[in-house]
């Protein structure tokens, strides 16, 4: 942005209380890390659980980031998003199985090559599927939430059945690429290699998304469109094209998340995306509609809390995320960092 003036304007600083309240969503993650450390006590266990929670959070973030943009920009409640997760996993794992020699070779380069090809194939297929889904299923029901729920759930069921037709009805078990198996030891903690890779991919993706949203014109259009689509059109932009682009990108990200989740679990099923949608919706809602940053923080909170609670009090693990959702909505009814207000 070359149009900056050559001086530095100032605005009055916010009072301390307001600044803390504004930063609080960002502070929640370090607060949870500290509370987890105090509750768990053992540093190596805490580190293992933290990396596990961060990895889980990053994968949920990847799946949720597309959905929150579609929610915010297009006001579309897409329950079909789960289908893209499943399809991404099946396409990606098919690539891994097809390149089994590379995957089982003791070469990090070949192993990462397999993962990269799996991810690219999954994103390409789910991106195209997303484009078709938007045109055939979503486009006729823009602005009608109840119809959106009905037709996108219908689309989800149809795509799940298509997965059964193509890959068969059974779950598929497989092994991760050779060099991504096992763990490394760090400060006495066992850290799974694949989880470290998942954290790295999630972080890179978040940074790239932030750069795109903050530093590019298309990012500005998307951010502005989430807030006021009509005005973006009145400035001369064809928001419909942006809608389609975001839907395709969101579907491709779901596909990426599906491959990563599949590799994490080492088993895939047609219903895996549908199962993940509960966590994905929790993250989108507590993050605030339309907010990628909110989804990122929300996903980390969900991942960390679930891992800490599963260690401390396994029976409570199942309800920990619902409790988190309830607490966040009681504190901030529109979510932590909403870009658009819930209607």
């Amino acid at each position: 942005m070359s149009a900056a003036p050559d001086h530095r304007p100032r605005m009055a600083d916010l009072p301390l209380g307001e600044r803390i309240a504004k930063a609080m969503p960002v502070l929640l993650v370090p607060i949870l890390l500290v509370l987890g450390f105090l509750a768990i006590g053992n540093p190596s266990s805490w580190l293992t659980l933290t990396v596990s929670g961060l990895a889980m959070g990053m994968m949920i973030f990847i799946m949720a980031s597309g959905l929150t943009l579609v929610f915010g920009l297009m006001d579309v409640i897409n329950f079909g998003h789960g289908a893209f997760i499943s399809v991404g996993a099946f396409v990606g794992i098919s690539v891994v199985l097809a390149l089994a020699e590379w995957a089982q070779a003791p070469s990090l380069l070949l192993n990462l090559g397999v993962v990269l090809l799996a991810v690219l194939a999954a994103m390409a297929i789910t991106g195209m599927l997303g484009w078709a889904f938007e045109r055939v299923i979503v486009k006729p029901v823009y602005g009608a939430h109840l119809k959106q729920i009905l037709v996108t759930v219908g689309g989800l069921i149809v795509i799940e059945q298509l997965i059964h037709v193509i890959w068969g009805p059974d779950e598929i078990f497989f092994a991760r690429p050779e060099m991504l198996k096992g763990a490394v030891t760090f400060w006495g903690a066992a850290l799974e290699k694949y989880r470290l890779l998942a954290v790295a991919i999630g972080l890179v993706l978040f940074v790239v998304m932030r750069l795109v949203f903050r530093r590019t014109r298309i990012g500005l259009i998307v951010r502005a469109g989430v807030e006021n689509g009509e005005m973006v059109e009145a400035l001369g932009y064809r928001l419909r094209l942006v809608f389609i682009g975001v839907f395709i990108a969101g579907s491709a990200l779901a596909g990426l998340g599906g491959v990563m989740w599949g590799l994490y679990q080492e088993v895939i099923t047609a219903g895996m995306g549908e199962e993940m949608m509960i966590l994905v919706f929790i993250v989108v809602i507590i993050g605030g509609l339309g907010s990628v940053e909110g989804a990122f923080i929300g996903a980390l909170l969900v991942g960390l809390l679930q891992n800490y609670i599963a260690f401390l009090e396994p029976k409570l693990a199942l309800i920990s995320n619902i409790a988190l959702l309830t607490a966040i909505l009681m504190w901030r009814p529109q979510g932590m960092m909403p870009v658009v207000k819930a209607k």
Partner: protein, 240 residues
């Protein structure tokens, strides 16, 4: 009015099940300021939103600079040269002032010439260039909203109540900026409730009631004819 930049012919607009515009006929002369007056709820905002394409005209024709734009999308109307400043200002609160302006310069980078023209018209925007637009005051937001419409070369500006709710000093700045726009030869269709501002800026006026234009003519005629004002504006002011 032979040289009209905008002609609206028998336009009917529905919002949901409500029939709001009942056959609006209006001409906006080139290079002049036309005030669209009338009490609240008579269809002034709907008329502007129909012209920019936010709401489709069910019936009738909108002709902009000789071209029928009735079937065009909002973005196509904007690219054809129509700038729109909505009543709620439509600024992007989450974006900085700079980002709002960069986005408004849809045809390319916001060059120094365009930027300086904006700063000259609205000095506070220079001060708050890198501040989030949501933190601006009401007057500053209104300035940003008009500045955004000025970022591109426009042949027609549709401006909806730019002085609404503003302090008198800001109203004066706003009126000055609109006067500058007028001096530069811009064609403006301006919805305004403040009759003093309307008198000062308007070359022509059209008064709406119940979704129709009930009077159109020169602003001077309306401003100097007490009887006409009472008949038209008395109705407006009492209800508004």
């Amino acid at each position: 009015m032979s040289d009209a930049i905008l002609r609206i012919e028998n336009v009917h607009t529905d919002i949901a099940q409500y029939h709001i515009l009942h056959g609006v006929d209006l001409q906006v002369p080139r290079g002049a300021v036309t005030m669209l007056l009338g009490r609240n709820g008579v269809g002034k905002t709907t008329t502007l939103r129909t012209i920019i394409g936010h709401w489709p005209a069910r019936e009738g024709r909108i002709v902009f600079d000789g071209d029928d734009i009735t079937a065009l999308k909002t973005s196509e109307r904007a690219r054809a040269g129509i700038g729109y400043v909505p009543e709620d200002m439509g600024i992007f609160s989450d974006l900085t002032v700079e980002e709002n302006m960069v986005l408004a310069a849809a045809s390319g980078p916001l060059d120094t010439g365009r930027r300086d023209r904006i700063f000259e018209a609205f000095p506070p925007l220079r001060t708050f260039w890198r501040s989030p637009a949501g933190t601006l005051s009401g007057g500053q937001k209104q300035m940003l909203s008009i500045a955004r419409a000025m970022a591109e070369e426009r042949r027609l500006f549709l401006i909806d109540e730019p002085t609404k709710g503003l302090a008198p000093a800001i109203v004066s700045t706003m009126a000055g900026a609109l006067r500058d726009l007028k001096r530069q030869g811009a064609s403006i269709l301006l919805v305004e409730q403040n009759f003093a501002v309307a008198k000062a800026l308007g070359d022509f006026a059209a008064v709406m009631d119940d979704g129709r234009i009930v009077w159109a003519g020169e602003m001077e005629q309306l401003a100097t004819d007490a009887g006409l004002q009472e008949r038209l504006m008395g109705l407006s002011m009492e209800a508004g």
